[in-house]
Structure formats: C-alpha cells, structure tokens
Amino acid sequence: MSKFDHLRGVPGSRNRLAAQVWEGAKVGAPAAEIPELDEVGVPVELRATIEHHMSLYPDYRSAALPALRAAQHLHGWLSDEAILQVAAVMRVTPAYLESVASFYDMLELEPVGRHAIYVCTNLSCQLRGAHDVVEAFSGATGAPVNGSSADGQFYLRSFECLGACDTAPMASIEGHYRGPLTKEDATTVADHLRAGGAPDEVLPEKRFVGDYGRRIDE
C-alpha cells in the first residue's frame, strides 16, 4: 500500500450508507416516503431556519443544502433523525436529501468529533510538507486521519485544496484558516481547543488572506 492511504476515500466504509451496501435492504421495514411533521417532531428553530431559506429561492428545493447544513449544525451530524426532520419540513423524500448529502464532502453521514480540523493535503500544501502536518495533528488530537478521536473531541480530515495555498501547509480549524503550519502548531491547536479555547483565537499570527508573499520577507 502506498503512503497515501490516508488520503483515499474508501467505498462505503466511512459512514452509515455502508450498512445498506453490506447488508442489503431492511426487508420488512416500510419504504421511506415523505415523513409527516407529526411523525418526526422538528425543533422549532430548525423549522424556522429551513423555511426562511426556502423563501429565498424561486424554487424551494434550492434550500436543500442550507437546510442540511443547519440540521448538521444542530445535530452534530446528519443522522436519520436529522434527515427526516429536513424532509418533513421541505416535503421531499429522505432519499433525495441523503443522495444530495452524500455527494458533498462537508456533510457528515456518520457521527464525528466536535472540533473539525481540515488539513489541506493537495498539491501546493503537499509540496511544502502537508503530510507531516497531518500526521502531527493525528498524534496531537488522537484522531486517525479522516476519523474522530476516541473522546469525541476532534474530527481530523485530510482535505482537498482549501484555497489558501500561499500559507501552505495550512488547515481550516472549524472554518478558520491558519498557516503555514509546523508540527508544533498541531500541538498548539489541539491543546487550545481541548482547553475550551475559541477556534478563531488560535494561532492569530498565522492568518493570511492570499497575501503571504506580499507581506513576508524571506
């Protein structure tokens, strides 16, 4: 096997979809039709958020992605329950939502750790040592690459190009971009988050927005 194992997605192994691939249909269970609102019990705020999004577009189905993101934010991941709740509000089948959700990288179909760290391992970052950085994060957080730590605190992903190649190697710490990172930075970030620190406050000196080259004398 190559050293790029951790960078590969493996069919069906990461998430709930694997069950139907390996075991087949739950024969005897009812077909998944559009759930009724009283069947699933949707939290009031989630329903309001989804309906707000639906009102922004000429076709309400465009709200699928924002709705799924909102449900993921509330539940931590897109569980059956989350998908059914969105389906009941949007009046669409859960299969449609699951099909959309499984297409995108940022929508999680299995439970993941609380703090999501996406380490970019695409070409520009790879050229500057992303492999070592992601291994360092794995050690510091206790999460395997593309997995979650046993204590449920961290979710570590090796991700594709995040659009911050000037600060290679870099990572997105819960949506906040930091780079260039060293192996020591991995420990700093893990400790900071573990101690309850706000994600936008970690490594403040490593914030650049495409202007690294224009601001650094090297």
Binding site: N122, E160, G213
Partner: protein
C-alpha cells in the same frame, strides 16, 4: 512589470469590508452610473468593448457571453461562481475577504447587463469566513438600497442571495453549479443547451467568476478604453495570479497579462528556495499540462500558454522543484480528480480510478513500463470523450507529466520494484473490508 492595478488598488485599506469605507473610495459609482445613466444595451456594449475575458478559466469574452441571454419578459438569473476550488487558486478568496463590496457591485452590474432579476453568489462551503463577510456586505447593500426592489429608483429590481456550497470541486463547473444551486447533486449538464438559454430553473442564466465580475464596476466608471490600456490586445485588463508551491513568496499578485512567466515566478514570488531549480510548473492550476524550465521566458497569456501545449486557465502557478518526485505529483493529482469526479460519465469516473490504481502500483513497485503506455493511452481515451472538463483536467496534466518526464517515471518504477523485492507469486490485493 507594472505597479498599476485595478482590483487590488485599495486591497489593504482598513475597514474596506464596510460599505461606507468602500463608498468613500468611490464604490457603487459604477452601479449608479449603469442604472441611472445607461441602458442595458449600453452596459453590454461597454463590457464587450472592454474585451474583458472570463477569469474563471475559460477565458471567454464576458460581454459577449452576457449578450447571449435572450431579451424579453422571462425570468433571468445571474450566478457568481465563487466556488474557487482549483488547486493552486486562491485569488477569489482574497477578493471576497477584503473587497466584498467590489464583488457585490460587480454582481449587480452584471445582473443589470443580463436583465436578471435574481442573483446568486455560489461560494464554496469551506470559505466560511468569506461567506459571513459577504452576507454582511449584502445586508448592507440591501439596507442602502443597492439591492432589492427598484434599485436607486431606476426600475431595475434584483435580489441577491449568498448560497454556500458544501465541498465539491465539480460545482465550480458552471452547469454543475446550476444543478447544485437547484438543490441537486452537482452533476454537470449537457451543453447545448447552454446556460444562456436554459440555465438555472431552466431560465436564461449568466454565470461569471468573482474576478470577472469584480472588474465590471471599474469598466463602467472608467470606460472600455481605459480597461484596454492594461494588458495585451487579446487579453486586456489585469489578472490576479496566485503563485504557490516551492517558491519563497507564495501569494496573489495582480499583473498585466503578457509579461514573461519568469517575472512572476522569480520576480514577484521570489523563485524557488536557494539551491533549488524549477523542475515543472503549472501555469493554470493543477488542471493544466505541466511546463518546464524552458518555458519560463514565454509571455504569460492565453495564446502563448496554449501554443506551448498547456493553458492559462485560472492563471494559478504551482511550482515544483527538483526535489519532488514527479510520480508523487502525478499520483496526488490523480487522486484529487478521482475524489472530485462526480461519477456521471463513464470515461472520467472509470478513467480516474484506473489511473490512480496504476500510479499506486508504480509507486509500490508493482508495475512495468507497459503500464506507462497503458496509462498514457487511458489519458488519451479520456480527453474529449467526457461530459465536462474534469476528465480532461486530470488527463491533460498526468498525460503531460508522462510525456515530459517519462525517464523519471521509469526510474521510479524500477527503484520501487527493487525496494519491494521481486514480484511475489501471490498478488495480495486487499479487500475493502480490510482497509480502514
């Protein structure tokens, strides 16, 4: 190389994200002029005359593209493609993060030119900070009456929505973006029909890149001739080049197209680290065929890059120095495209995963030179046969690497075979259940 810029002129102004600061620096004058002093046709003509070419990779004349939309009472749409996911490209991020109102104004001008009543900014989900900044900017624009109903009393109404993606490179392809915006899986569509006729919700749609639209306010305010004073005749205006990889000063640089590539890589970005040389460089993000040291003095523009056997694309330069094994680069790229393929068409879906499997075997010492021939043939079989350009985006760089660095591939293959020992009799290939 020039100090004159268009988009980055005020880029480091503190508070530029706020509407009042932007207005103080001359912001929204373009929108005001377009809506109150010009007709839709005049705006279209100005944009076409300026020669502004799409900055998202295709390089098609923006004004001409906008003029393809039919006139008349049907509902039309404008989509700003802010799904910047091309490896090595990070120009739109800086533009949106620091200069959001420039984009908002550009979107609205574009919408007016196209006759659109709904505008969407499709921003990739990973750009969470930038999406928040844009949300705030759009709110401010609505409050000031620059967006929404009857903008500036002109009778033109346009809604503006920031729509976040959720992590898919393919959604940067314009028709896949439309499908994703409609709430479906991001699969590209057949063209024809083109989005100008049948796009979002089957209505006429104009799709433009962030950088392209950010140029429009300046063109309207200063005129097409002023814009043409930058750059070359075939590629007027400026271009923001993202340089990354093995260079001392990776970052975004606003240049005029036509300057030698060396001036960008060595001049602006400082060149490779001391003692290293450029082995290969990508002129247009990872989807472009690689070029080598011998191409460094070529003019950096659409035509020259194409003549050299590559393409300008997003004009994002990735530099690979001699310490990096080329097989590693090829494998990393192939895996990227295999991961990002949408899976709709056969050559891309199967071709990408086949290429990855072959490159892995090469790296693991399980391949022979025949595999290189097969791989080259597979790339050729992908090119031109796919539904969209993603297949080509893998096949062209990988194909070019095999062509230009064949001896290195073969040497790597040999070393790996020796390291792995002789080919074992039983070929153990792990089953999915054994992996992860």
């Amino acid at each position: 190389m020039s100090d004159r810029g268009i988009l980055f002129t005020h880029i480091d102004e503190p508070g530029l994200q706020r509407l009042d600061v932007y207005e103080r620096l001359g912001g929204y004058r373009g929108l005001r002029k377009a809506l109150t002093a010009m007709s839709q046709d005049e705006v279209l003509k100005e944009l076409e005359a300026s020669g502004l070419r799409g900055r998202g990779g295709a390089g098609f004349s923006m004004g001409k593209k906008a003029s393809f939309l039919p006139h008349g009472g049907i509902e039309k749409y404008l989509c700003c493609n802010a799904d910047e996911s091309e490896p090595g490209t990070f120009k739109d991020r800086e533009l949106m993060h620091k200069h959001p109102h420039q984009l908002v104004e550009g979107v609205l001008i574009g919408a007016f030119a196209a006759g659109a009543s709904h505008a969407f900014i499709y921003i990739r989900g990973e750009y969470e900070e930038e999406a928040n900044i844009l949300d705030a900017a759009v709110s401010e624009a609505y409050e000031r009456g620059y967006a929404g109903e009857n903008i500036l009393g002109s009778g033109f109404s346009c809604s503006l929505v920031v729509h976040r993606g959720a992590g898919a490179y393919i959604c940067g392809e314009e028709t896949a973006l439309l499908d994703s915006l409609e709430g479906k899986r991001g699969n590209p569509r057949l063209k024809p029909p083109f989005p100008a006729n049948q796009g979002l919700y089957n209505g006429p749609t104009l799709i433009n890149n962030v950088e392209t639209l950010s140029n429009t306010p300046h063109i309207i305010v200063n005129g097409a001739d002023w814009f043409r004073s930058f750059g070359t005749e075939k590629s007027p205006g400026t271009k923001i080049v993202s340089v990354s990889g093995n260079v001392k000063r990776p970052g975004n640089y606003e240049i005029e197209l036509g300057i030698p590539a060396r001036d960008i890589i060595y001049g602006l970005a400082g060149g490779p680290h001391p003692g290293r040389r450029v082995k290969a460089w990508f002129p247009g993000g990872s989807s472009s065929p690689v070029l080598t040291e011998e191409h460094l003095d070529l003019p950096f523009d659409f035509e020259s890059m194409q003549q050299a056997g590559s393409m300008l694309g997003t004009a994002s330069i990735i530099v690979v120095d001699e310490n990096v094994p080329i097989v590693e680069v090829a494998l990393r790229l192939a895996e990227f495209y295999r991961h990002e393929s949408c899976g709709k068409c056969v050559p891309c879906r199967e071709g990408t995963n086949w290429t990855v499997k072959m490159l892995e075997r090469i790296d693991a010492g399980d391949a022979t030179p025949m595999d290189l021939d097969v791989m080259a043939s597979v790339q050729a079989n992908i090119i031109g046969n796919c539904l969209c350009v993603l297949g080509d985006s893998m096949a062209m760089p990988v194909g070019s690497m095999i062509k230009r660095f064949r001896p290195e591939f073969e040497a790597h293959m040999e070393r790996a075979r020796i390291a792995a020992g002789a080919l074992t009799e039983e070929l153990h290939v792990p089953l999915p259940s054994e992996v992860a």
